[in-house]
Subunit: 307 residues, 4 copies
């Protein structure tokens, strides 16, 4: 079955109305958010984001540079002014896909269409993604139960290899090994260990040269369990290079364009994995609103797990 | 008593060690975060942030422009490529103080010093705020109990006037009117209604021309109650113009530089006020991590209240 | 006759080959450049550009902000380093149309086409103007004889009014009043005095609210005389609002898209007018290369007249 | 003799008044500009600049990224609007030292001072280089006689090696080999061939790893001959690594800070060398105004040689 057929079968177009702009986040109802909050135990907060710095993970592929932080005011601007406070101000220039990020629903499509039948032509240079904008997701927030699926742990490795595919059976096995179960509205946080290329080895080029990730069959798994969003420590969710090279990144396409699933990429999961292991608990409150970028197709963020 | 004397009396320098970089957020312990999570009832999420758009609230004061969102890739870049997905990518340039924001602890100081005895000279053009960086606050997250103090409601107005000062007695009266009490580690969200200049009247210039806010005596109130952070819908927390014009923005200085309190500015509180009024409940889970900007003195964010 | 018919009649498509990318600058041959250089007398240099500053002429129309200059390194970054030099480095963010500028040949078109039959679709978000790029003009330089036509002087005013049209008869009258004649390859510098709205009155908003300029009949005048480029102190070359409101900016369209004429806008001509008046000489060496922006549709520059 | 002693001996501080901001460009008088214009023969224009592109010569050293060109408007923004013209607009973000550039007189200093006794503290984050600004050089233009000294040709190589020093004797030998002589006000264009690392070999990293260039003794040579400016195809004018490692880049310091000489770097000289060889003529009209960046310490430009 081609990915187009899979996409058609798993399509959520129209499921939440013709004007829906948030897709599977509809599974994350206020009730699910409230339930997730109740799961907090210790109150320990774990940050899952990469720092924004010009020494970051980007190597310039596709014109993506690392964030550029610039000062607009520093204390010497107020030299000799003992009558007033010193102020420091700053600016940043960054590609919205340059660091730990959400892919919004305008980020990818195929056959001239985006999620929910929105024409790709709704994205223009001036207006950005006029109909499927990341600020729509930000306004509604992303706060729910996070569930870490630690595939590297399952396989007894510190990281999977580039091209190594994760199947639905793996996801089930991870759930079993962790003795937990998904609930509708959960955000799945998938750990492949691939981020260690950068955070441990300091090899950004390797990080971008392929990746382990899920295969297309997992889309159905996510669909059936009413998962609201998916995030991972790889850069594109799916195994790359893929076995089937007839179309680039079919999983991305089915998840975002057909199912309407917002994807989190370039997450940092090592500390979270350690904490979950230590506490033998794999679910937590997960807060991860993007920035309110009007017309945006993605956003940097500081995702947090509260245990 | 001069603000310098107040600052000395309320100083938290050394309180959490000489290397402390997060100040009063130390009051927001994991226990307080866990407690705050338990206060979630309906799971309703209210966004407290302004959208990032070039039609935003900035009028160019101090070189602060509105966020500039630019597309790097749009679907026509993939015209005629039915063999691959369409991708849209984007970038943003923005002053970190141009929208709903946290002021980090490197943002203001006086007498050549920042919070905890860090020299103002630790902020340089190239490295930014090398010692007191907003990413230190982001790494640890800002998730705790939020308490809305609705001063506009207290005064029976839709907004206070520019220069109108809020005193400790007002804060007490608001607590009484709302029938609630602060707890150590709470984040106080102070509503003056001032944001309506922009969101209702569309008059950005007026928004920046003075503001209602707290007076210096409130610093002691915040200190005594171990408040972890303070956010408001005005742009500088304190009443402006102030009665005492001998030093610009003394409240800012005492809160940030002496007490080490991270300040939230340009928040949008109208929907939250309505929700709290409706539910007659003024506390909620508040999640508000800044971005992980290394060397940053501030950060845009999407602050959320979960009721 | 509609502007489309005029455009067809004056079209230079194919005139210099199907791959031509510089249009009427072909009139400015090396011989004309050499001749222009010989016209230098005193060697006095007059700058015709606006400064790049955040206090510039832009008011935010169409998302055009003023240039934003930022420091990357300042001397305090080298404090205490007597063993090495101090360095200052800087960056700039600017819309390429935000200051004194050339409009490249990719800047405007109509009916889905640009100059020389290049499809408008050749301009994409990622690649910019892939076929008609301003760097092609920069590589070849713009150095030739400039001829100031001072229409404000002709009319005995310090400036023309918004909407005030300049006709071929005016251009002829200015030539006669200045006792000079055009030569093939000349760059015409047209002074309307309109820039005084900003440089004298400080009223940037007025500057953008209409403008004096040429009418469509002047296109034929420029065509017949083999003028290589046209620059003015207004922002869009033609009178605005125009008498004929059926199509916005037809002169722009015919000049750039049909004739292939690079247009200079937002020039500062007051000092040049004074110098020409003083020396009773209206021609000079004119040097005005844009920046080598690959894919660019415009460029800031420092245009110079050498008398 | 230490470089500080050399600097003192060759100092031009006060030579053109205490308020002078352009240094040795004072040698380039209107008379010299007029003379230079007369030297134009064929009118052939040779561009000496690198293209501005994200595939440029920068490798990220010192936070210098390649220019980032972004579109603000493209034709699809006007889809379905047959009643109006199509417009494309664009923006650029770039470090001013990221491409072929002038170093302004605020770019380097030592012992807390810049050229002409201007304190290094006159450069602040907010105002940039308030006293020695590149726009002062732009306003006055840089147009004079250029003289190519082709040291690679002299040595019979296509390029000198990193660290290979050029001495006054070499400069004299090149003049003799080229059968020409300097005149006061000349701009010296020094070809080392080093740019071929990038333009021929495509090895940007090698380009930045050392460079051939002049030694300190050449400063006196330039001083005595009243050279107005110096440009080269290397990135820092002087041989690196240098024999004397007690102070980094002493030649830079003496030329810019003591003599007040604006330096051109990262020039592309291969085509010019070929043209000069072909015509056996090594002088030409050289036009090279920087952008009018207020507070700037450097500027990209499109330098042109007119033969």
């Amino acid at each position: 079955m081609s990915f187009r057929e899979v996409g058609k079968r798993l399509s959520n177009w129209g499921r939440w109305g013709d004007c829906d702009r948030i897709g599977t986040l509809n599974h994350l109802t206020p009730e699910r958010t409230a339930f997730a909050a109740q799961s907090v135990r210790s109150g320990q907060i774990v940050n899952l984001g990469l720092p924004l710095t010009n020494q970051g993970i980007q190597v310039g592929l596709g014109g993506r540079v690392n964030p550029i932080h610039m000062m607009n005011l520093t204390p010497p601007d107020f030299a000799g002014r003992s009558d007033r406070m010193i102020v420091a101000d700053d600016s940043v220039f960054l590609p919205l896909q340059s660091v730990t990020q959400w892919d919004g629903l305008g980020h990818v499509g195929y056959d001239d269409m985006l999620y929910n039948g929105v024409p790709a032509a709704s994205i223009t240079t001036a207006a950005g993604s006029a109909k499927l904008s990341i600020h729509q997701i930000a306004e509604r927030g992303v706060i729910g139960r996070g569930l870490l699926l630690d595939i590297a742990r399952l396989r007894g490795k510190d990281r999977l290899e580039a091209g190594e595919a994760i199947t639905p059976a793996d996801l089930d096995a991870a759930l079993a090994a962790q003795n937990c179960e998904t609930l509708p509205g959960d955000v799945i946080i998938l750990r492949t260990g691939w981020m260690r290329c950068f955070t441990v080895d300091g090899d950004a080029a390797r990080y971008w040269n392929g990746e382990p990730g899920i295969n297309l069959a997992c889309a159905e798994w996510l669909h059936g369990r009413q998962i609201s969003a998916l995030a991972s420590d790889n850069w594109g969710i799916e195994a790359m290079p893929a076995n089937d090279a007839t179309f680039e990144m079919p999983v991305h396409c089915v998840l975002i364009r057909d199912m309407g699933m917002t994807l989190g990429e370039v997450f940092v999961l090592e500390k979270l994995a350690e904490a979950c292991e230590r506490e033998n608990r794999w679910t937590f409150l997960f807060t991860a609103p993007p920035l309110l970028v009007v017309g945006g197709v993605g956003s940097p963020l500081t995702p947090l797990a509260i245990l």
